[in-house]
Amino acid sequence: MSSTAPTLEATAPVATPSKLQAHRTPAKSIGLVLVCTIIGAAAQILLRMGADYIGSEEGLAGLISNWPLMAGYVCLGANTLLLVIALREGQLSVLYPIIALTYVWVAILSPMFFDDTLNAFKIVGIIFVVGGVSMIGAGSKR
Protein backbone atom coordinates (compact mmCIF):
# COMPACT_ATOMS: atom_id res chain seq x y z
CA MET A 1 0.00 0.00 0.00
CA SER A 2 2.93 2.31 -0.39
CA SER A 3 3.49 3.54 -3.92
CA THR A 4 0.33 4.00 -5.96
CA ALA A 5 -1.76 6.44 -3.91
CA PRO A 6 0.62 9.05 -2.51
CA THR A 7 -2.02 11.76 -1.95
CA LEU A 8 -3.76 10.30 1.09
CA GLU A 9 -0.65 8.68 2.51
CA ALA A 10 1.38 11.85 2.29
CA THR A 11 -1.16 13.97 4.13
CA ALA A 12 -1.62 11.49 6.96
CA PRO A 13 -0.23 13.29 10.04
CA VAL A 14 1.00 10.19 11.82
CA ALA A 15 2.52 6.93 10.69
CA THR A 16 -0.07 4.45 9.52
CA PRO A 17 -0.60 1.46 11.83
CA SER A 18 0.94 -0.85 9.24
CA LYS A 19 4.25 0.93 9.72
CA LEU A 20 4.24 0.25 13.45
CA GLN A 21 5.62 -2.98 14.74
CA ALA A 22 2.51 -4.63 16.03
CA HIS A 23 4.49 -7.66 17.15
CA ARG A 24 3.20 -9.43 20.20
CA THR A 25 5.06 -9.71 23.44
CA PRO A 26 5.66 -13.39 24.30
CA ALA A 27 4.49 -14.73 27.65
CA LYS A 28 8.05 -15.91 28.29
CA SER A 29 9.32 -12.31 28.28
CA ILE A 30 6.49 -11.15 30.54
CA GLY A 31 7.24 -14.04 32.93
CA LEU A 32 10.94 -13.11 33.02
CA VAL A 33 10.15 -9.48 33.89
CA LEU A 34 7.83 -10.74 36.66
CA VAL A 35 10.77 -12.71 38.10
CA CYS A 36 12.83 -9.50 37.76
CA THR A 37 10.34 -7.62 39.95
CA ILE A 38 10.69 -10.21 42.74
CA ILE A 39 14.50 -10.12 42.58
CA GLY A 40 14.35 -6.31 42.39
CA ALA A 41 12.21 -6.20 45.54
CA ALA A 42 14.67 -8.51 47.31
CA ALA A 43 17.46 -6.16 46.22
CA GLN A 44 15.68 -3.12 47.65
CA ILE A 45 15.03 -4.85 50.98
CA LEU A 46 18.62 -6.15 51.22
CA LEU A 47 20.07 -2.72 50.36
CA ARG A 48 17.91 -1.13 53.04
CA MET A 49 19.05 -3.74 55.57
CA GLY A 50 22.60 -3.05 54.44
CA ALA A 51 22.15 0.68 54.95
CA ASP A 52 21.18 0.03 58.59
CA TYR A 53 24.24 -2.23 58.94
CA ILE A 54 26.73 0.47 57.89
CA GLY A 55 29.08 1.79 60.56
CA SER A 56 30.07 -1.43 62.29
CA GLU A 57 33.39 -1.53 60.42
CA GLU A 58 35.28 1.15 58.53
CA GLY A 59 36.41 1.32 54.90
CA LEU A 60 36.38 -1.30 52.18
CA ALA A 61 36.50 -4.20 54.66
CA GLY A 62 33.34 -2.88 56.28
CA LEU A 63 31.67 -2.59 52.91
CA ILE A 64 32.53 -6.15 51.91
CA SER A 65 31.62 -7.64 55.29
CA ASN A 66 28.22 -5.96 54.99
CA TRP A 67 26.57 -9.06 53.55
CA PRO A 68 23.06 -7.63 53.01
CA LEU A 69 24.54 -4.78 50.96
CA MET A 70 26.63 -7.20 48.88
CA ALA A 71 23.68 -9.56 48.40
CA GLY A 72 21.59 -6.56 47.36
CA TYR A 73 24.10 -5.62 44.67
CA VAL A 74 24.24 -9.23 43.45
CA CYS A 75 20.44 -9.16 43.15
CA LEU A 76 20.64 -5.91 41.17
CA GLY A 77 23.14 -7.50 38.79
CA ALA A 78 21.01 -10.62 38.34
CA ASN A 79 18.02 -8.35 37.83
CA THR A 80 19.70 -6.47 34.97
CA LEU A 81 20.84 -9.70 33.31
CA LEU A 82 17.33 -11.17 33.44
CA LEU A 83 15.84 -7.93 32.13
CA VAL A 84 18.13 -8.02 29.08
CA ILE A 85 17.12 -11.64 28.36
CA ALA A 86 13.47 -10.66 28.73
CA LEU A 87 13.88 -7.67 26.39
CA ARG A 88 15.23 -9.81 23.55
CA GLU A 89 11.69 -10.32 22.36
CA GLY A 90 8.57 -8.23 22.75
CA GLN A 91 7.79 -4.57 23.20
CA LEU A 92 9.70 -2.33 25.60
CA SER A 93 6.53 -0.29 26.20
CA VAL A 94 4.79 -3.45 27.46
CA LEU A 95 7.64 -5.01 29.42
CA TYR A 96 9.15 -1.96 31.14
CA PRO A 97 6.05 -0.78 33.08
CA ILE A 98 5.68 -4.28 34.56
CA ILE A 99 8.70 -3.39 36.73
CA ALA A 100 6.30 -1.22 38.75
CA LEU A 101 5.21 -4.46 40.45
CA THR A 102 8.46 -4.15 42.41
CA TYR A 103 6.69 -1.46 44.46
CA VAL A 104 3.95 -3.98 45.25
CA TRP A 105 6.34 -6.69 46.52
CA VAL A 106 8.30 -4.17 48.57
CA ALA A 107 5.09 -2.86 50.17
CA ILE A 108 3.97 -6.43 51.00
CA LEU A 109 7.37 -7.72 52.17
CA SER A 110 8.83 -4.80 54.11
CA PRO A 111 6.47 -5.13 57.13
CA MET A 112 8.11 -8.55 57.68
CA PHE A 113 11.59 -7.04 57.89
CA PHE A 114 11.17 -3.45 59.03
CA ASP A 115 9.00 -1.32 61.22
CA ASP A 116 6.51 -0.86 58.34
CA THR A 117 2.80 -1.49 58.11
CA LEU A 118 0.57 -2.43 55.21
CA ASN A 119 -2.05 0.29 55.56
CA ALA A 120 -5.15 1.18 53.53
CA PHE A 121 -3.24 3.63 51.31
CA LYS A 122 -0.76 0.97 50.32
CA ILE A 123 -3.47 -1.61 49.66
CA VAL A 124 -5.33 0.82 47.37
CA GLY A 125 -2.02 1.62 45.66
CA ILE A 126 -1.26 -2.08 45.16
CA ILE A 127 -4.68 -2.60 43.54
CA PHE A 128 -4.06 0.31 41.14
CA VAL A 129 -0.55 -0.83 40.18
CA VAL A 130 -1.66 -4.44 39.61
CA GLY A 131 -4.66 -3.17 37.61
CA GLY A 132 -2.46 -0.91 35.48
CA VAL A 133 0.11 -3.60 34.75
CA SER A 134 -2.66 -6.10 33.91
CA MET A 135 -4.21 -3.58 31.52
CA ILE A 136 -0.90 -3.03 29.72
CA GLY A 137 -0.42 -6.80 29.52
CA ALA A 138 -3.92 -7.30 28.15
CA GLY A 139 -3.32 -4.58 25.54
CA SER A 140 -0.23 -6.39 24.31
CA LYS A 141 -2.23 -9.41 23.20
CA ARG A 142 -3.44 -7.81 19.98
Binding site: T80, L87, L92, S93, A100, Y103, G132
Partner: protein, 118 residues
Protein backbone atom coordinates in the same frame (compact mmCIF):
# COMPACT_ATOMS: atom_id res chain seq x y z
CA UNK B 1 8.05 18.31 55.29
CA UNK B 2 8.64 20.54 52.29
CA UNK B 3 10.35 19.15 49.25
CA UNK B 4 12.90 21.42 47.55
CA UNK B 5 12.53 21.99 43.82
CA UNK B 6 16.15 20.88 43.38
CA UNK B 7 15.28 17.45 44.81
CA UNK B 8 12.31 17.14 42.48
CA UNK B 9 14.45 18.07 39.47
CA UNK B 10 17.14 15.56 40.45
CA UNK B 11 14.61 12.76 40.79
CA UNK B 12 12.94 13.81 37.53
CA UNK B 13 16.34 13.74 35.83
CA UNK B 14 16.93 10.27 37.31
CA UNK B 15 13.63 9.10 35.81
CA UNK B 16 14.56 10.42 32.35
CA UNK B 17 18.05 8.88 32.47
CA UNK B 18 16.62 5.57 33.72
CA UNK B 19 14.12 5.46 30.86
CA UNK B 20 16.87 6.17 28.31
CA UNK B 21 18.85 3.34 29.94
CA UNK B 22 15.96 0.97 29.23
CA UNK B 23 16.07 2.03 25.55
CA UNK B 24 19.76 1.10 25.34
CA UNK B 25 19.11 -2.24 27.07
CA UNK B 26 16.33 -2.98 24.58
CA UNK B 27 18.50 -1.92 21.63
CA UNK B 28 21.28 -4.17 22.92
CA UNK B 29 18.94 -7.07 23.62
CA UNK B 30 17.42 -6.89 20.12
CA UNK B 31 19.48 -8.87 17.61
CA UNK B 32 21.59 -10.38 20.38
CA UNK B 33 23.04 -13.39 18.57
CA UNK B 34 26.08 -15.58 19.03
CA UNK B 35 28.20 -14.14 16.22
CA UNK B 36 31.07 -11.87 17.22
CA UNK B 37 29.93 -8.72 15.39
CA UNK B 38 26.48 -8.68 16.96
CA UNK B 39 27.91 -9.48 20.39
CA UNK B 40 30.23 -6.47 20.17
CA UNK B 41 27.47 -4.18 18.92
CA UNK B 42 25.03 -5.42 21.56
CA UNK B 43 27.71 -5.29 24.22
CA UNK B 44 28.32 -1.60 23.58
CA UNK B 45 24.64 -0.74 23.81
CA UNK B 46 24.11 -2.88 26.92
CA UNK B 47 27.13 -1.25 28.60
CA UNK B 48 25.75 2.21 27.90
CA UNK B 49 22.42 1.05 29.34
CA UNK B 50 24.00 -0.28 32.53
CA UNK B 51 26.12 2.87 33.00
CA UNK B 52 23.01 5.05 32.52
CA UNK B 53 21.15 2.95 35.13
CA UNK B 54 23.98 3.55 37.60
CA UNK B 55 24.03 7.30 36.81
CA UNK B 56 20.26 7.38 37.21
CA UNK B 57 20.45 5.75 40.63
CA UNK B 58 23.13 8.25 41.73
CA UNK B 59 20.84 11.16 40.83
CA UNK B 60 17.97 9.34 42.53
CA UNK B 61 19.81 8.84 45.82
CA UNK B 62 21.06 12.43 45.64
CA UNK B 63 17.49 13.65 45.01
CA UNK B 64 15.81 11.74 47.85
CA UNK B 65 18.32 12.94 50.46
CA UNK B 66 16.09 15.95 51.14
CA UNK B 67 12.38 16.12 50.76
CA UNK B 68 9.36 13.94 51.16
CA UNK B 69 9.27 10.50 49.55
CA UNK B 70 5.53 10.96 49.11
CA UNK B 71 6.33 13.55 46.44
CA UNK B 72 9.56 12.10 45.09
CA UNK B 73 8.59 8.42 44.80
CA UNK B 74 5.81 9.01 42.22
CA UNK B 75 8.12 11.31 40.23
CA UNK B 76 10.45 8.36 39.60
CA UNK B 77 7.62 6.36 38.12
CA UNK B 78 7.16 9.05 35.46
CA UNK B 79 9.97 7.04 33.83
CA UNK B 80 7.23 4.69 32.56
CA UNK B 81 5.70 7.62 30.66
CA UNK B 82 9.02 8.54 29.05
CA UNK B 83 9.62 4.90 28.12
CA UNK B 84 6.26 4.86 26.32
CA UNK B 85 7.41 7.83 24.23
CA UNK B 86 10.89 6.42 23.52
CA UNK B 87 9.39 3.04 22.53
CA UNK B 88 7.25 4.78 19.94
CA UNK B 89 10.10 6.97 18.67
CA UNK B 90 12.94 4.45 18.54
CA UNK B 91 11.24 1.05 18.16
CA UNK B 92 8.02 2.05 16.37
CA UNK B 93 5.92 0.41 19.06
CA UNK B 94 2.27 1.39 18.99
CA UNK B 95 0.87 3.49 21.83
CA UNK B 96 -2.59 2.13 22.46
CA UNK B 97 -5.31 3.03 24.95
CA UNK B 98 -4.43 0.14 27.27
CA UNK B 99 -0.84 1.34 27.59
CA UNK B 100 -1.85 4.95 28.34
CA UNK B 101 -4.52 4.00 30.90
CA UNK B 102 -2.33 1.23 32.29
CA UNK B 103 0.60 3.57 32.93
CA UNK B 104 -1.87 6.12 34.36
CA UNK B 105 -3.19 3.53 36.83
CA UNK B 106 0.37 2.57 37.78
CA UNK B 107 1.20 6.24 38.50
CA UNK B 108 -1.89 6.64 40.70
CA UNK B 109 -1.03 3.39 42.47
CA UNK B 110 2.54 4.49 43.18
CA UNK B 111 1.18 7.79 44.56
CA UNK B 112 -1.03 5.84 46.98
CA UNK B 113 1.77 3.50 48.04
CA UNK B 114 4.02 6.52 48.61
CA UNK B 115 1.28 8.20 50.66
CA UNK B 116 1.03 5.04 52.76
CA UNK B 117 4.74 5.18 53.49
CA UNK B 118 4.33 7.99 56.04
Amino acid sequence: MTTPISSMLLVLLASVIGSVASVFLKAGANHLHRDKASLIRSGKRLSVGVVLFVVSSIFYVWGIKDGSLTVLYPLVSLGYVWTLVWSRLFFNEPINRQKIYGVGLVLVGVMFIAAGNK
